[in-house]
């Protein structure tokens, strides 16, 4: 497993200088290593500290209050939490099947040359800065959706509360935000699931094929079950990305404090509200309310990440301990 030089029968170096230098070097690496730990703690503390003013004023009720009125000094996070939840969940629902299919194509179907090229392209998609995706979203995707997809959705599903109301002329709104998030989540989930599928033991797959299963039956019976926990972790990591994305969402969601079930309407997520108010925050209370939003966002992302870690750890344990 990992390198453990301490387990080697190393005799202590003869010169005292070397011995001292070893201790110093140990210390020199230890301090930066603790920096990561310190940063995590400091971020948590600072965010909690910064939101204290708003917390004292609004308490936990902040989470369930729908209000954002800097003039009257009333703030609440409900609409933004709902905005974050709905856009991220839609993005996940759209992205997960596409991403798993891409992973399957790359690991099971694609010829070697094609696989490397498409695999690299998927990773490049993940590397596009979010502000560029947002720019594309607001100037290309939004108008496209408004002209082509939205009318279809409204005429087919207009009877549900989700596709009611006027189509935004510029194409900004919750639906566009969800699509933009989908584009950002797909490459993450796809490249992780590709690796998972590739790590399924070859013998199992060949055994299944030798039994006369078709390739899809082999995937459904062997590949997917053994990769399931890993896929769950990948999807959760994708969720973390979607929840935390501030810039691209700010550009396309329309910036509106108020939640509506209709996906054509503008809205705001936790992250986009923070990002869009960065220069406008005038009072200390408003700044504190924004930091309170950041605290909620931080809490969500911590839970999401730790959950993914737990799943991955257990998965690894099963794999190494099970065989």
């Amino acid at each position: 497993m990992s390198a453990a030089p301490s387990a080697l029968p190393v005799r202590a170096p003869r010169s005292a200088g070397d011995r001292i230098a070893d201790v110093l070097f140990h210390g020199l690496t230890l301090v930066p290593a603790l920096a990561a730990l310190a940063l995590v703690v400091a971020i948590g503390w600072k965010v909690a500290d910064g939101s204290r003013l708003a917390f004292h004023k609004f308490g936990l009720g902040f989470v369930t209050t729908a209000a954002w009125d800097p003039v009257k000094g009333v703030f609440g996070a409900r609409d933004f939490i709902l905005g974050t939840a709905s856009t991220s969940l839609i993005a996940l629902v759209l992205a997960t099947p596409i991403a798993i299919a891409i992973g399957l194509y790359l690991s099971e179907l694609a010829p070697r040359g094609v696989r490397d090229v498409i695999g690299a392209l998927v990773e490049l998609l993940a590397a596009i800065p979010s502000v560029v995706v947002g720019l594309w979203g607001i100037l290309v995707l939004g108008p496209f959706l408004a002209q082509h997809l939205d009318p279809v959705l409204r005429s087919a599903l207009g009877w549900t509360p989700f596709f009611k109301g006027d189509i935004p002329s510029a194409g900004t709104g919750m639906l566009t935000a969800a699509v933009v998030l989908t584009i950002m989540v797909v490459p993450i989930v796809a490249s992780i699931s590709r690796e998972l599928f590739q790590s399924v033991p070859r013998e199992l797959e060949e055994g299944a094929l030798a039994l006369g299963l078709t390739r899809w039956e082999m995937v459904r019976g062997v590949v997917l079950p053994s990769a399931r926990p890993g896929i769950a972790a990948a999807v959760i990591l994708g969720l973390g990305r979607a929840v935390g994305e501030a810039i691209a969402v700010t550009q396309v969601i329309g910036g509106f404090a108020g939640f509506s079930l209709s996906l054509f309407k503008p809205g705001d997520t936790l992250a986009s509200r923070i990002a869009s108010q960065y220069q406008g925050a005038s009072t200390a209370l408003q700044v504190s309310a924004l930091v309170y939003l950041a605290a909620i966002l931080l809490a969500i992302s911590l839970v999401v990440n730790l959950l993914a870690q737990v799943i991955v750890r257990r998965f690894e344990f099963q794999r190494t301990g099970g065989s």
Binding site: A3, R14, L34, A246
Partner: protein, 294 residues
């Protein structure tokens, strides 16, 4: 399972299974094509709309006033260069030393804890990191390029540390053993043998982290956004940056600004994609080299 007659026509059941299989294979292929097409459309849009606005002036001139044609984004390019370079200078030593500690010294428990901390740090939304740096540096002083660099360094740290750790792991154990067998002390082994063997990998990780940081907007919103419209190189002042410029221009009503945003996006994408391609090539090379040693 009843076998189909070897010479006869396939049973209806087999035919159905094959049809399902074919359908699923087609779906998976289509999904992959969708991903490629998406990347294609984004890049084509950026190229088509950005190229016309690219010129030498675009990189060397400061912005023209609102609504006026001409001018460039030299302030943003200079600012991004400074902010990202300083961020890399902050994150690189800390990241590499962290990885060295984790792979050479750390007791198992501590190693796991720090690794978890790095992963958590990597998962914290960048806007929250912006808020954090705003709280510790900007509130008490003012916005500055340095504050922006610090925010980006926090984002780069886990990337550099984790990728360096991965490289250190594939340094052949024989190298360490050979060094210790010669009676060489630990610090000399690490600095003289292990680190040089993994330089290629560390560069790769750093380049990926730089590519990621160069495109980050959210951490700079609160830390280095209230900027003057002329070129400055002084990191103690707030510095404009390329991603933030794109963000601001994209919300402008002026079509000239949109053209500038596309051009800046083109420059940014070109940089990010080049850096990731280059690091990929570097990674392959250093893997091969290390493989030969082992």
């Amino acid at each position: 399972m009843s076998a189909a007659a070897p010479w006869g026509r396939p049973s209806p059941r087999l035919r159905r299974r094959k049809a399902v299989n074919l359908m699923m294979e087609a779906l998976a292929t289509v999904a992959a094509l969708i991903a490629v097409a998406l990347l294609g459309t984004v890049i084509v849009s950026v190229l088509r709309r950005g190229l016309p606005a690219i010129s030498l002036d675009f990189f060397t001139k400061a912005p023209a006033g609102f609504g006026a044609p001409g001018g460039g984004l030299a302030n943003a390019f200079a600012g991004s260069l400074v902010i990202v370079a300083v961020a890399a200078l902050m994150a690189l030593p800390v990241g590499v030393l962290t990885a060295l500690y984790l792979s050479e010294f750390a007791p198992k428990r501590l190693e796991e804890t720090i690794r978890l901390a790095l992963d958590v740090l990597n998962g914290i939304p960048s806007i929250v990191i912006g808020i954090f740096v705003f709280g510790i540096l900007v509130v008490s002083h003012q916005q500055s390029g340095l504050a922006g660099s610090f925010a980006l360094a926090i984002i780069m740290l886990p990337l550099i540390a984790r990728s360096t750790q991965e490289v250190l792991r594939i340094v052949p154990e024989t190298l360490r053993e050979a060094s210790y067998a010669l009676g060489i002390s630990r610090w000399r082994t690490v600095l003289g043998i292990i680190l040089p063997a993994s330089v290629g990998g560390i560069m790769t990780g750093t380049m990926l982290a730089v590519a990621r940081a160069a495109g980050e907007t959210a951490p700079l919103l609160f830390t280095s956004s209230l900027t003057a419209p002329f070129v400055t190189w002084d990191p103690r002042q707030p510095l404009q940056s390329v991603p933030l410029t794109i963000f601001e221009l994209s919300e402008s009503p002026d079509p000239l600004d949109h053209a500038r945003a596309w051009a800046a996006a083109l420059a940014l994408i070109a940089f990010v994609l080049l850096a990731s391609l280059l690091s990929r090539a570097l990674l392959a090379r250093s893997r091969r080299k290390l493989g030969q040693v082992g």
